[in-house]
Each structure stands twice: as structure tokens, then as C-alpha cells.
């Protein structure tokens, strides 16, 4: 059953200290900034966060890290030109980093949502990121064992939802959203548009509502095509 709520604060209610939280987005594209800011306002701390990056600029995930709410981050690419919030926390030893190759990160989340107990992948074999992990030769090629990632909560952003929780995404803002939606106990989605039941063609649904628990519509600045460019 999907709850369509009125505010981001209601959408993120109930996240416990110490929770594991998946946060969608690749850089700022698809990052559910309004949900993250509601989490910050709620005061929850000691989080383990799963994201591709570790925050950009000073808003959203960057602010969550700057405020000292993140104990550990699992990501593929923390260091960027605008990752100063993470850089400072990391250099001060206040945040733990688990670095995962990006495809392994996506597949570990997918496995988590799909009930897979682990998988063997060629990515990372012979590198520092495979140290201490089981390696098995399959069809003449070495593969390393990677384990699934599951979360208490997934916070993602989509383009539109209907009251059944069906989601459609937009362009490269889709990125981790659909797989994260499958891998958490509670999936919370911020959308730009809320459509009536039947307002999304079933053939176009990217994430079926079975994976979605709460939806909040948060108005956003107009998109390029909406400005008639």
C-alpha cells in the first residue's frame, strides 16, 4: 500500500539512528534533495549511506555529511571537484568509506532487491578492491564474490508517480533509483508530478508500485522543455 503524503518531513518520518539509507542520484542528477533536507531537519544520526558519490556542493547529501549525520558511506566515487564536505569529514577521520566499483555497487543493490545471496563478477579481480574476497575461476576467467546490499530506507527521486506508486523517470536522473527502490524495507520517493490513477501508461512504468511505500510531490524549477525552449 502506497502512502501519498503532503510533505517531505512526513515522507521521511520514522528513520532510526543507525539506519542504512540508500540515496539515489548520480552527482546531483536524480538526487532527492528535498527528502535529504527533511532527514537533516529530523535530527537522525549515525547513518550508513549508500550512494554513487559522497555529495556535491553544499546541499542534499553534502549537507547531510557536513552535519555529521553519516557514520559510513558506501560509494564508488567520493572525490570530485565539489566534494569538499565529504573531503573534510574524511580527512578528519569522522566518516568511514567503503569504496565499491560502480557496476559492483549497482549489482550488489540489485542483488539485494532480487533476493540473491551474492554473485561472482570479473570486475575488481586482481585489484585492491578484491582483497580478502573469495575468487573463483568460472569458464576460465577469475571472478570475485560480492555480497548484496540491503537498506532500511531508500530515498529516491522520480519524474512522476501515480497513487499506485508506479514511477517513471527522466533522462539520466533515473540512474540508481529503480534498483534502490527494490532493495530497501521502506522506499520513499519524491516526484515532480503526481498523476491520477491511470495517468501513467502501464507500458511506460519503470518502477512498479510494489517497490514503493511513500510518495511526496515536491514542485521543482521548470525543465528546459517546459520553458518552451
Amino acid at each position: 500500500m502506497v502512502d501519498v503524503v503532503d510533505t517531505a518531513v512526513e515522507a521521511v518520518a520514522g528513520i532510526a539512528d543507525g539506519a542504512t539509507v540508500m540515496i539515489g542520484g548520480f552527482g546531483t542528477a536524480g538526487q532527492p534533495v528535498d527528502l535529504i533536507e527533511a532527514v537533516i531537519a529530523g535530527g537522525v544520526r549515525d547513518l550508513t549511506v549508500v550512494n554513487n558519490n559522497a555529495g556535491n556542493g553544499d546541499r542534499g547529501l553534502a549537507a547531510l555529511i557536513r552535519e555529521g549525520r553519516v557514520r559510513k558511506i558506501i560509494c564508488s566515487f567520493p572525490r570530485q571537484h565539489d566534494s569538499h564536505c565529504f573531503d573534510e569529514e574524511y580527512r578528519a577521520g569522522r566518516i568511514e568509506l567503503e569504496l565499491v566499483a560502480q557496476g559492483n555497487l549497482a549489482e550488489r543493490i540489485r542483488a539485494g532487491g532480487a533476493g540473491i545471496g551474492g554473485f561472482f563478477t570479473p570486475t575488481g579481480v586482481g585489484t585492491a578492491l578484491a582483497e580478502g574476497k573469495e575468487v573463483r575461476r568460472i569458464d576460465g576467467r577469475d571472478h570475485v564474490l560480492e555480497h548484496p546490499i540491503r537498506a532500511d530506507v531508500a530515498l529516491i527521486s522520480a519524474f512522476a508517480a501515480d497513487p499506485a506508486g508506479n514511477l517513471v523517470f527522466r533522462k539520466t536522473a533515473r540512474n540508481f533509483g529503480p534498483v534502490m527502490a527494490t532493495a530497501a524495507v521502506t522506499t520513499v520517493v519524491q516526484v515532480r508530478e503526481l498523476r491520477p490513477l491511470g495517468g501513467i501508461d502501464p507500458e511506460h512504468v519503470v518502477t512498479p508500485g510494489i517497490y514503493v511505500d511513500r510518495v511526496v510531490c515536491v514542485p521543482q524549477p521548470p525543465l528546459p522543455e517546459e520553458e518552451g525552449r
Partner: protein, 221 residues
């Protein structure tokens, strides 16, 4: 294209990108890494139907976006705004890396800190103790693409060779690189060893002196 390419001076990044572009067969699916490899896109002939993949979930990526075309939800792996071409498609991250790992991507072109004589690649970690590590999609690309091409300068700023007997920096993937494009020469990593394929302002003997590894001369008759 006709080989070898011999020029009387080292190649700049744009000329080198043009050379890479000429080596990519029509109809290929290609991922261009961040930095110098991005320039390859400027030299692809649209008539060749080469489809660019970006690991953040798109096939059919067009050129960098400017002005009114900038859309914060349409970016490449370097988080630079880009455009979409007719026939483009979007997909989520697990699909994006499945198509890579599953051997559907014909080429990736990556930058490198070091490449070994057996095609090991080091391009994600400088090895500096205070560096914040960041791997992104490099390991998946190098491992998953059917062919991994490298574009890099032959020497570091300090004059040390980057094509080496074995990598001293942390590895990205083992035995993945098939060809190395540098400002001084193009090298094929073959089962027999490192073969010089093209030379730019540098003689075969000079290359042998610069690099502390055995070379095969495949530049000409």
C-alpha cells in the same frame, strides 16, 4: 585505415583523438572515459553510426550541451551536461553495467597513469597516502568492454615512462588493455609483447631508450 602513421613531431590531444576515432569501426558501441578520451567524440563521423554509451544510463549520447540546451538531468559520466541523439535510450545503473560486463560494449577508451607490458591498467589511484580514493566505473569498463583502448602521454611530467614492465600503482584491471595511444607512439599489447604501431616525432630507437621494456617494431616494411 592505412598503417603505420608516422609523423615528424609528437601528436597533440586532438590529433591523437582523431586517430583513435579513425580506428573505431562503424556501428560500434563505445564508452569514452573522462578527460582526454572525451575528445574522441569530436572526431567520429555521424555517418558511421557509432553509438556512445555513458555509464550513468544512456546510449546515443550526443555532444556537450551549451546555453539553453543544458538540462541538469541529462549529464555524462563526468557530470557534464550533454545532449541526446535520435534513437537514444535511457536505463538504470544495473542495466548500464550489465551491458558492459556482459560483453555488449565493443570499445572503451580510458585515460591511464600506467599501463603494463601485459595490458594491466592503473588509472584510479595515484598511490599518494593522503589521496581520497575514487574508482567510479573504471574497473567495470576496463573489465567489461570487449576492447580497452588507452589514451595517455607516454611520459609523466617528471619524464618517467607510463608504459612499464609492471604497474607500480594500484591496478584497475589485469590484462585488459589492447592498444595504447600516446603523444609519441601507438602501441599494441600483443601475446608476443609490446608492438610499436605508429610513431610521432620519435624514432624506434628513441622509444626503446625511453622505455625499459622490449619492443617489437611493427611500423613498417
Amino acid at each position: 585505415m592505412n598503417r603505420p602513421v608516422i609523423s615528424d613531431r609528437p601528436l597533440g590531444p586532438d590529433d591523437l583523438a582523431a586517430l583513435v576515432a579513425r580506428d573505431i569501426p562503424p556501428g560500434s558501441f563505445v564508452n569514452l572515459g573522462i578527460g582526454q578520451p572525451t575528445k574522441v567524440a569530436n572526431h567520429l563521423d555521424p555517418a558511421d553510426g557509432i553509438v556512445l554509451h555513458t555509464e550513468n544510463g544512456m546510449l546515443g549520447m550526443g555532444p556537450e550541451a551549451h546555453g539553453d540546451d543544458v538540462d541538469p538531468e541529462l549529464i555524462n559520466a563526468g557530470k557534464v551536461p550533454v545532449t541526446e541523439l535520435a534513437g537514444a535510450s535511457y536505463f538504470h545503473h544495473a542495466d548500464s553495467f550489465a551491458m558492459m560486463r556482459g560483453g555488449h560494449l565493443d570499445y572503451c577508451v580510458l585515460g591511464a597513469f600506467q599501463v603494463s607490458a601485459t595490458g594491466d591498467l592503473a588509472n584510479w589511484h595515484t598511490g599518494a597516502p593522503d589521496a581520497i580514493p575514487a574508482v567510479g566505473g573504471a574497473m567495470d569498463l576496463a573489465t567489461g568492454a570487449r576492447q580497452t583502448l588507452v589514451m595517455m602521454s607516454l611520459l609523466t611530467r617528471d619524464g618517467a615512462p607510463k608504459l612499464v614492465p609492471s604497474c607500480t600503482l594500484p591496478l584497475t584491471a589485469v590484462g585488459c588493455v589492447t592498444r595504447v595511444y600516446t603523444d609519441r607512439a601507438v602501441f599494441d599489447i600483443t601475446g608476443d609483447g609490446v608492438a610499436v604501431r605508429d610513431r610521432f616525432g620519435t624514432s624506434y630507437d628513441e622509444l626503446r631508450d625511453l622505455l625499459s621494456l622490449p619492443l617489437l617494431d611493427r611500423t613498417g616494411p
